[in-house]
């Protein structure tokens, strides 16, 4: 029962972070909010796993965290070079 309450509390903070996702002025704010919302989603899945006593929710939580890692790294790569193609030799770019 308490795990369910923890899940609800994390869901509320996820909605607040979602607010930053929509109102974020720059693209980087939205990427940051996306990372936060995904980690919150993983926490909700973990709380449901404990509340229901089933471990398949927990695998979902781990999958969400791994996806969040890959997603944010892909987003930052696109923000940095504006494209996925390998950059031609640009002198001042300090990769």
């Amino acid at each position: 029962m308490t795990a369910l309450l923890i899940g609800v509390a994390v869901a509320v903070s996820g909605l607040l972070a979602l607010l930053r996702l929509f109102s974020g002025p720059t693209l980087h704010d939205r990427a940051l909010a996306a990372k936060t919302v995904m980690v919150r989603a993983a926490l909700i899945c973990a709380a449901l796993a404990v509340a229901a006593g089933r471990s398949d929710w927990l695998d979902a939580a781990i999958a969400v965290v791994l996806t969040a890692i890959v997603l944010v790294l892909a987003i930052t790569k696109v923000f940095r070079t504006r494209t996925f193609q390998a950059p031609l030799s640009r002198p001042q770019e300090d990769i």
Binding site: V10, S13, L16, L32, A42, I69, V72, K77, R80, P91
Partner: protein, 119 residues
């Protein structure tokens, strides 16, 4: 419910509430801070320690041992991934030309030639 379960659930709830305080503090930081880099600081405060505390609390109150071990592994993954992602976001914002609110550094426009006196 025997005493041990009651003790375990109570302790887990306490640890999870401490994690929730960190999470809501970080969320407040994400919403209220004026600049991207300060919001990034707020988010990393919420994610790494807050999520780890909540997961440790959940692991304490988990019904059986297998779920508790996996919860602690997930907490380790989140603690390891938090700073990496925050660094990637900050370095992308910096390279993308987002200059912080205060301080001397003025990010060059993307693609601009590096001036001589760039601090």
């Amino acid at each position: 419910m025997d005493v041990l379960t009651l003790l375990r659930t109570g302790l887990g709830a306490l640890v999870a509430v401490a994690g929730l305080v960190a999470i809501f503090g970080g969320t407040l930081g994400i919403l209220r801070f004026p600049d991207f880099y300060t919001r990034l600081h707020g988010a990393s405060v919420a994610d790494a320690p807050g999520a780890a505390l909540v997961l440790a609390g959940l692991a304490l109150m988990a019904p059986d041992f297998a779920i508790a071990v996996r919860l602690l592994l997930l907490a380790g993954l989140v603690v390891a991934a938090g700073p990496i992602l925050s660094h990637a976001l900050a370095s992308a914002a910096h390279a993308g030309g987002l200059s912080p609110l205060s301080g001397r550094y003025k990010a060059p426009r993307p693609g601009a030639q590096a001036q001589g006196d760039e601090p």
